[in-house]
């Protein structure tokens, strides 16, 4: 026999299809007797409502789109998990799309998703603000880690955690610092650099700015090499991956960490704990970030055209083994 529909159920129960539909959507409108019978028959037949049919009339897909700039970036897995969990709790599925680091792909995918989803979350977008605004026109949308006045956003703000990192290093005797800047197109990179500059100025310590470097392991190695050209005893890497590159480069050149230099990363990805020495870094509240994004999106879907919301969640500084007491300034090599 073919797939069971509300009609086959209705027939078996001697009621109309409308009643069957109501059993699932507004059960309180149906008499208990009928309700139970329908439920029983539905289970027996293995009935599952057809989402396409339902979507056609309700206009809802019960699905949200999630576009990540680069799924191979270890920053994302936990975020994806958190978003998915929250979405599921709201009764929605998640359609994940990897933009493979391409800004063009991002907007292309937003267009592609339109119609298949009720709204979309764009995580760490690389696209220009104008392109994002245009792509999201008329589609509920939440930006993650990228603020934009007219679109809702949820960002992880590491400013104060980076202050803490600076203080931590300062307390350990460091006085000369290096800032290994991340990709110039990244909002997060700009923000972090700004935070560190601000801290250094306030503290009145010396800060050498290097970069920008690519946010990859290789970029980190270059950053590490550049670091050694300076007299800085402590370095702020853009993120953990970069920091790992730095560690590798230093290790390769026989420079001890944290003995000779201290390094701090950012994001607290899996890698941060598995590398030796384990990375001092800034933990992002992944669960909150994802959950908040989904909630904001849901609100946006339910009240289209509502005012955009902006949320700012702070990261938390974590001291591990890649930072320690300064042994004073060093010569270059």
């Amino acid at each position: 026999m073919s797939k069971p529909t509300i009609y086959s159920i209705a027939q078996r129960c001697g009621v109309s299809a409308a009643t069957v539909s109501r059993v699932f959507n507004r059960p309180e409108l149906v008499s208990p007797r009928v309700r139970e019978q329908v439920t029983a028959v539905a289970r027996e037949l293995g009935y599952l409502p057809n989402p396409a049919a339902r979507g056609l009339v309700t206009g809802r897909a019960e699905t949200i789109g999630l576009i990540v700039s680069d799924i191979t970036n270890p920053f994302f897995p936990l975020l994806v998990r958190s978003i998915q969990r929250t979405a599921e709790r709201m009764g929605s599925s998640v359609m994940l799309v990897d933009a493979e680091e391409s800004a063009a792909a991002e907007v292309r995918h937003v267009a592609r998703l339109r119609g298949r989803v009720d709204g979309v979350i764009v995580a760490s977008p690389r696209s220009s603000s104008a392109a994002l605004r245009e792509a999201a026109k008329g589609l509920p949308c939440v930006l993650l880690n990228r603020p934009l006045r007219d679109l809702s956003s949820v960002i992880c703000d590491n400013t104060s955690a980076l202050f803490d990192a600076g203080e931590h290093l300062h307390k350990h005797g460091h006085r000369s610092f290096a800032l290994l800047a991340g990709p110039s197109a990244s909002w997060a990179a700009a923000r972090r650099s700004q935070a560190i500059r601000g801290w250094a100025r306030g503290r009145g310590v010396e800060l050498t700015e290097l970069g920008p470097f690519r946010a990859t392991f290789k970029g980190g190695r270059q950053a590490g090499a550049a670091l050694l050209e300076t007299g800085a005893t402590a370095a702020f890497a853009f993120d953990d991956l970069t920091a790992c590159g730095v560690l590798a480069e230093l290790a390769g050149r026989g420079v001890a960490v944290p003995g000779d230099r201290s390094v701090v990363g950012c994001d607290d990805v899996l890698l941060a704990r598995t590398v030796t020495p384990s990375l001092t870094t800034v933990t992002a509240p992944m669960d909150d970030l994802g959950a908040t994004a989904v909630q904001v999106l849901t609100r946006q879907i339910e009240a289209p055209g509502g005012a955009p919301e902006h949320h700012r969640l702070p990261g938390v500084f974590v001291a591990r083994d890649s930072t320690g007491h300064s042994t004073g300034p060093r010569s270059t090599s």
Copy 2:
């Protein structure tokens, strides 16, 4: 005005909706003049076909489901990317679901996806064969890294690469080996252990089996500790993550790699190249795995009830820095 439909376009063009529909689906049936006009008007109105409506009549969602056992496992990102790329080329979107390492969640998600997708790929399932079989009943399904007679599967077979690894170590003078086994519920773990046992037997070398250990960094540290209790100079870790744990443990105890011991991992995840020393491991042909899985699934969707296909793609051994010459058997600590 509301969303454009084939009707608004039809009206504007003075043709019937059927014609508009044909312009998009069977353009060769429409006269060039009309075709161009319709295309132009559609673009002007920003028309996008409604997937729900289309799906309702065609019975296709143009979407495939992808269930991964644990998205935080660094093994998956590249796989996801490859699957997505291939799916997109076939005109399908991907609905990703993370089972969070729970077998129950896997089958629950298969059920949830049914109806919303045309078929599903289950990557590295943890569920029992019976549960998988039952869950996939009547739904096109491809298993990744888990063979099962009556369901299609695509697996990565590292047997010969692990032989190569063994030979590589043997050539470097190693004669006493340790097998650090992975989780007993994992098919891949069983398979790898078996391969290594086979090789050792054939080679006539000493093989100490340890474990099973969890496939996590922590599990790796335990494995590392256990390794030091033995006289083995070379160890096969279940995967790269475990291997990294081993490296960390050894480093922590002042044991040099590859000076004192050699370690090989498996999978060649990002981590493998970023760790110091870089890991000798076995590279899985991610792109092929993903592409093959999607292709098989597509075939399965087009010809439901067709015979299941089974594909076996070999991994490739890569020598890096975590393996080297044996300095002979060592004492315990």
